[in-house]
Symmetry: C2
Subunit: 286 residues, 2 copies
Amino acid sequence: MIMYLNGQYVPREQALISVEDRGFIFGDGIYEGVRSVGGKMFEWGPHADRMINGLAGLRIPFGAAQVNALEAVCEQVVEKNGLADGEAFLYLQVSRGAAPRAHGFPAGDVTPTVFVSASKLVVPRKLRDEGCAAITFADMRWKRRDWKTVNLLGNVLARQAASEAGAYEAILHEDGLVNEGAATNVFAVIDGVLRTHPLTPRILPGVTRKVVMELIAELGLPVREDAIPLDQLASAEEIFVCGSTTDVTPVVTVDGAPVANGKPGPMTVALREAFEARLYQAAAAR
Amino acid sequence: MIMYLNGQYVPREQALISVEDRGFIFGDGIYEGVRSVGGKMFEWGPHADRMINGLAGLRIPFGAAQVNALEAVCEQVVEKNGLADGEAFLYLQVSRGAAPRAHGFPAGDVTPTVFVSASKLVVPRKLRDEGCAAITFADMRWKRRDWKTVNLLGNVLARQAASEAGAYEAILHEDGLVNEGAATNVFAVIDGVLRTHPLTPRILPGVTRKVVMELIAELGLPVREDAIPLDQLASAEEIFVCGSTTDVTPVVTVDGAPVANGKPGPMTVALREAFEARLYQAAAAR
């Protein structure tokens, strides 16, 4: 496996960083996860914009032009790993770099650490077709979830709990409301209307969420960006989660109880099909 | 500078870890900061116990015997860096180790990454004598602050804001209450009684805080472990912060306004003196 690290393409075992990197010491970094199909990045622009916004939020000196230039790096990493013919997951991370430990930003010139890797993505068709199980889990994360930082322990513990419960995703809730999944955004159909959390610092502005919102408009489905009360989740008519490797995946059980009749609902199926059409048409068009 | 990394003592420039270390990718690790005086660790037991508790909380397979064995490693790192005659700050971190990226805990054997470094500590006597400035800052951190994890962006941004305001520390508040400092615990005197936040997951159980509580009992001072209302901070009779490199440091201004007459108060001075006596007597006794 070939990775990109600080300007070089190196084998995995040579992809080494300083133990004093602020990514390791403080979780002081921003990341992205991008889907590639046929060697091209899907929705690169929104991913790059979100990364630029997060880096600006943390005031890491790695600007828009530098982030935008990573699209070509991603394509190179895909190519060098022989992943250009199928689908891949690109992981990108920029940390503030290595410096002697002190909480505040280091004085002087510190070069950010830039990392890109790619792995083969095998889409789990069965999960998309039949739906997945989810659990509910208290949201323990810090308050700027709109920045895609590597302060991810709240997500790690939630996903681990899901996995131990035999579920695919953990639906995070706080103050009686559903925020989002540990690595996805959450939609539910309540009283015939699609509902999802509005874009605030309480959730990540998902790129797949954005595409789904566009598809909802195209399909003329009713939608409200208004947080789902946790106590209405069990009686939702449909639930799905979405994300860059999850696409649109139906949720058919929550905490072990079936959602409606336990099968993917009609709006979910329509959005899943529309999403996949867009994903693969985008690839074919390039 | 010689550092300890995964069983070896290496020069700083050779202290390298995998870019896939979960410490870098998820902030998936626990750390400690320990004071050494004359080559010996001050209050090693409580530091080790807190690290053991945090590692158990995150279920990182690095147990009590392994943590306790790091005391000798710390002494070695101090010795190898020629810091045994004065005072030093020891930094210890254990992450879950390197594994291909997935939120949940990696399957199979993954060896935790273990890192120890030491730096010379020059105690800022003027700050201890004359007191420091502090700002108030909203607490943005995740919900398990009792585990000393490296998910530290809330602390980083708070300390940076303090520094830009010309202050030493940021006092973090939430829901109208004072939690603690970005890298310290906070005490205030209100109506003649010492007050500090009780030990809950909202704050770090500080080792210096523990020593200060013991000294308060020895000196017969009145104390209540009950969170300080933020709106009573400005009118507090005394404020101090404490921590492993901060010892007991008076706070003489908050957000630019003087605390009482702007000079360290009598309980603060008494506790500072008692703390330093204990710190240096402990060293002399060994």
